[in-house]
């Protein structure tokens, strides 16, 4: 079973990348109670902005990793102020539909701006090679993705448990009116949380860019994956997002290698099985709707 090591590593890098993306979706749901169908499109925007900054503006990868997510966060602020503010008080179906409309708009804009062809982003020289790990060569970039995932995990945990901003977000999630009464500007929190979710999606996009080819359908693929992650883990649950992402990472890492004839089916099968036995996901706290 020489394939287990690489499959394990592969599962981890897919899983942690999915965690970065899905946790943004989850935070937005947890605080704002909206399902952001456009989350995958924001991920794609992150990747394409990074492509432009690196290949057309000649910036180093690291600068793109800093700037592209900021750009996407600014776009998210505009979306929040122009469209989403109308539907925060409505039911979840409206948010699904409106963000689906935003998804169509972003997808088509990307196609208009960058074309429907495939674009490629090279990893920075530092991460281009491979290293020897436990007797087999491992791509440095995979390790980088794992490190970024773990850093984000630690950072988010710290943010939500140890900082005032994190506590404010949690307060707004639990009881909007009470937070308002405590002089928290909830309007600002709402915009901030949506932009933060978009920023996380875009980080995922920039990190994924050197691993995957960029095409206008990449957001649609990742949004379904993110849904699976948060539904398996439980909507609104932070540890749930991690567990869901790792489970899906393992399904991809091992399923693709050992069960190629049914690998497309496996993620959905996993999600359906979890929902049948735990209707609110593995770590879900209860019905939201």
């Amino acid at each position: 079973m020489a394939g287990i090591g690489p499959a394990l590593l592969n599962s981890l890098d897919i899983g942690l990348l999915l965690f970065i993306i899905a946790v943004g979706l989850n935070i937005v749901f947890g605080v704002l109670n909206i399902i952001n169908f456009a989350h995958g499109a924001l991920y794609m925007l992150g990747a394409y902005l990074a492509f432009t900054l690196i290949n057309l503006a000649g910036m180093p990868f690291w600068v793109a990793l800093l700037l592209a997510p900021l750009g996407v966060a600014i776009i998210a602020v505009v979306l929040d102020r122009v469209l989403l503010r109308f539907i925060y008080s409505r039911d979840v179906a409206d948010s699904l539909l409106l963000t689906f409309a935003i998804l169509l708009i972003i997808n088509e804009s990307v196609r208009m701006i960058w074309g429907s062809g495939i674009h490629v982003v090279q990893p920075p020289d530092l991460l281009a090679g491979s290293v020897e790990l436990l007797g087999s060569p491992v791509s440095t970039y995979s390790l980088f993705v794992i490190v970024v995932g773990l850093l984000m995990l630690a950072g988010l945990w710290y943010l939500f448990n140890r900082t005032r901003i994190g506590r404010t977000m949690r307060a707004a999630a639990l009881d909007r009116d009470m937070a308002e009464a405590l002089c928290i500007n909830t309007r600002l929190v709402v915009t901030g949380v949506f932009a933060f979710g978009a920023w996380l999606a875009a980080i995922g996009g920039v990190v994924a860019a050197p691993m995957r080819a960029l095409d206008p359908g990449m957001g649609d693929k990742i949004i379904i994956e993110s849904f699976i992650v948060v539904v398996i883990g439980g909507l609104g649950s932070f540890p749930g997002a991690l567990i869901g992402a790792l489970i899906l990472g393992f399904i991809h890492g091992f399923g693709g290698r050992y069960l190629p004839e049914v690998n497309l089916l496996l993620p959905f099968l996993g999600m359906a099985l979890v929902l049948l036995f735990k209707p609110n996901g593995l770590m879900g706290k209860g019905a939201h709707a």
């Binding site: 409106l98 804009s109 539904v231 909507l235 004839e261 359906a272 929902l275 019905a287």
Partner: protein, 315 residues
């Protein structure tokens, strides 16, 4: 008075629909056929969403499996078309019963996600089970021999096929309308507005939801059976979640609270698509903007907004 005008309007639309092959070119016959089939697909979805309030994101599963059922029966058994359609409805009903049984107990968001998961499972099976479904290429090369019931129709002729579709969609729409207007349909509407109250009234919400889901799935299967000979292929694309989004869009565009809303929506959708794609490739961009405006400002859809406005000035 107002209802009379509306009835006359409806009658005129029906006459116009029947007359299409004699007055319009082949291009518009194709467009009209597509509108009718997708309208039925959207109307079947609206039983689940507009009437019962369940946002299903896997409705294409029933549409797609209906198209595969008709294609498979035509290829392997060469049955009359009507029999193929009945098989499509039966297969979709069974699938809807299974998926619905497992999904309807979940609340809004999880319901949407679980139907999405099941829909994509069916998609994945159609995509990877090559020996039966021919994988990503789909099933093609089937021919319609006869219609059934001893009727002598040349179904290969687009205008004949259009009239067959019109008749079947018309009958299906009447059946759906009767279901929606019955006391059963009233319960569905009540469930959308307040499931707890319906439950307190002693009705089993879950079985009503399941019944609505199966009815919606069955008629989606019929629409799928009609689309396969129209497109001359049954392919995995018909099962993909982006296909599930189409009846959602059509219902919203037309108006989910009205029986004819999804049909108006499908006409609007197909016509807009045809017109816009003749000017620019960015049809989806325009669609996205229209959908966003509809969701934010015109929640009742085109039909609802126009009806409201018309009833208002006529007062």
């Amino acid at each position: 008075m107002k209802t009379k005008i509306l009835m006359v309007l409806l009658a005129l639309v029906i006459v116009a629909l029947v007359a299409v092959p004699w007055v319009a070119s082949y291009f518009f016959i194709f467009i009209a056929t597509e509108i009718l089939i997708l309208g039925l697909f959207a109307a079947s979805f609206n039983v689940i969403f507009g009437y019962t309030g369940m946002l299903s994101f896997g409705h294409a599963a029933f549409f797609g499996i209906g198209s595969y059922a008709t294609a498979l029966v035509l290829i392997h058994l060469e049955w009359p078309f009507l029999a193929c359609l009945l098989v499509s409805m039966g297969v979709s009903a069974v699938l809807a019963l299974i998926i619905g049984f497992l999904s309807v107990r979940l609340n809004e968001v999880y319901f949407a996600m679980l139907t999405l998961a099941f829909g994509m499972m069916v998609f994945a099976i159609a995509y990877q089970w090559r020996s039966v479904t021919n994988g990503s290429d789909g099933l093609a090369g089937f021919i319609l021999k006869d219609f059934g019931l001893g009727l002598d129709l040349t179904l290969g002729n687009p205008s004949v096929y259009y009239h067959v579709v019109l008749a079947i969609v018309g009958i299906a729409a009447v059946v759906l309308y009767i279901i929606c207007r019955s006391s059963f349909g009233m319960v569905l509407k009540a469930i959308r507005q307040n499931p707890e109250r319906v439950s307190f009234a002693g009705l089993n919400v879950r079985s009503y939801r399941l019944a609505a889901f199966v009815i919606g799935g069955t008629f989606a299967g019929l629409a799928g059976g009609l689309i396969a000979p129209f497109l001359r292929v049954a392919s995995p694309e018909l099962l993909h979640w982006s296909m599930s989004a189409e009846p959602v869009l059509m219902s919203i565009l037309g108006g989910t609270g009205y029986f004819l809303g999804p049909f108006v929506g499908s006409a609007l959708f197909v016509l807009l698509e045809t017109v816009i794609t003749s000017y620019t490739e960015s049809w989806m961009l325009v669609l996205g903007i229209i959908l966003a405006l509809m969701v934010v400002f015109f929640r009742k859809g085109l039909l609802g907004t126009v009806l409201d406005w018309w009833l208002e000035i006529k007062k």
